[in-house]
């Protein structure tokens, strides 16, 4: 899959053993959900090699969450892609959020977990300031488009620049092209990751959709470079949570 997971744990006392456990779990989830592995449960389920009843509880959980996200987004989020069953638009966020919860259970009160650019935050990196997260500029690899700040917050960015990811507009069946990237913030990365995927597929309709959701904000850059953000997008001057 090639996703890099980074952990920034600011709370003392999280044991190496606990962290290793989280990493091991992430490897297992990769094996379970990777659409690049023909022997993953997701791939087997898609091709009929496995029945849903034979799949792990995590697969059930993720597929149910995908159905919920599909309902929430009027179908713009979907795990039923033209190429087959593919919950990738949510799995990363779900896995990172679960990893964050595991770290909390292991005693952490402040950390940031980043899986391929989808980030779940907890607490503060140091006393007196929130986490500060840069948002990559989809047009310039070494630049940041903006920054967000928050404490118990999740940040997910969906962009057409992500390699290997094709966001399809389900109403047209063709790739969504209006937005170059969209960043969604909220409390829970599982939700926020799925909504970022849906929002990219929605294009310009995403602004009113996200504005209408409570607890979720967005910042977007169109394919032609115009930017917009929802009213309470958590910039450093107005941090989230």
């Amino acid at each position: 899959m090639g996703t890099v997971f980074s952990f920034d744990i600011r709370a003392p006392g999280v044991s190496a053993h606990a962290l290793q456990g989280v990493v091991d779990w992430l490897h297992r989830m990769d094996a379970m959900f990777s659409t690049y592995r023909p022997d993953s449960e997701i791939s087997l389920l898609d091709r009929g090699g496995l029945e849903l009843g034979e799949c792990s509880p995590e697969v059930h959980e993720v597929l149910e969450l995908c159905e919920q996200a599909s309902r929430d987004s009027g179908g713009y989020f979907t795990a039923r892609l033209p190429g087959g069953l593919d919950p990738s638009g949510m799995v990363k966020g779900w896995a990172v959020e679960r990893a964050s919860i595991m770290l909390q259970a292991a005693g952490s009160t402040a950390h940031a977990v980043n899986g391929g650019g989808d980030i779940q935050l907890l607490g503060k990196p140091q006393a007196g300031r929130p986490w500060t997260i840069g948002i990559a500029d989809p047009f310039r690899r070494t630049a940041l488009a903006t920054t967000v700040a928050g404490t118990d917050m999740a940040v997910a960015t969906s962009s057409t620049a992500e390699r290997g990811q094709h966001i399809i507009d389900p109403t047209s069946g063709r790739p969504a092209t209006a937005l170059a990237s969209i960043t969604v913030t909220g409390r829970h990365l599982t939700t926020v990751d799925a909504y970022a995927t849906a929002a990219l597929a929605m294009g310009e309709k995403a602004k009113s959709w996200i504005t209408g959701l409570s607890g979720v904000e967005a910042f977007a850059i169109s394919a032609t470079g115009e930017r917009w953000q929802t009213p309470h997008f958590p910039t450093p001057g107005n941090p989230g949570n």
Partner: protein, 158 residues
């Protein structure tokens, strides 16, 4: 094949590139001796438990010294070979160097966008902009990750 050396000085402050780790005694010389990578934030680094896998300088509080440079295996990718060198000073990954990058005419753009690991680029960006982490961008540089992983494997970081 042409060898292009791209050196990226990156003190990964506040970011732990972690795919798994064990702690080991610090090496005396620059060799492929084992070393631990941990969070460089002072006073808030990971506290290894006293279990069988957790030994070494960070846990005991003794200052970690010495520099180790490790070379990953060459990974063949669809663009050509990628090989990564990791420098670890004390307990920090202080340098990541792509010592082999895909070569070919008229592909500077492609090489630049592929061979300079996106993760390291964004670390640099994060450093200069004083952010803790970066959302967005691509992290799917397979060759880089595999070579980096093999370098870390040599010192027992899974």
């Amino acid at each position: 094949m042409k060898r292009a050396i791209v050196t990226i000085a990156a003190t990964i402050a506040g970011i732990v590139l972690l795919l798994g780790f064990k702690t080991h005694p610090m090496p005396e010389t620059t060799s492929t001796g084992p070393v631990a990578a941990s969070s460089p934030t002072a006073g808030a680094s990971l506290q290894p438990s006293s279990g069988p896998t957790a030994t070494g300088a960070p846990a005991t509080g003794a200052p970690a010294t010495g520099t180790t440079t490790l070379t990953g295996t060459t990974v063949e990718t669809q663009y050509g070979p990628v090989q990564v060198q990791v420098t670890i000073t004390g307990t920090k990954i202080t340098d990541v160097t792509a010592i082999q990058v895909p070569s070919g005419n008229g592909r500077d753009q492609q090489i630049n966008s592929y061979a300079i690991p996106q993760l390291t680029q964004e670390v640099l960006t994060a450093q200069s902009a004083h952010v803790d982490m970066v959302s967005g961008g691509t992290y799917t540089s397979e060759g880089y990750l595999t070579s980096l992983q093999s370098a870390l494997d040599k010192i027992g970081i899974k």
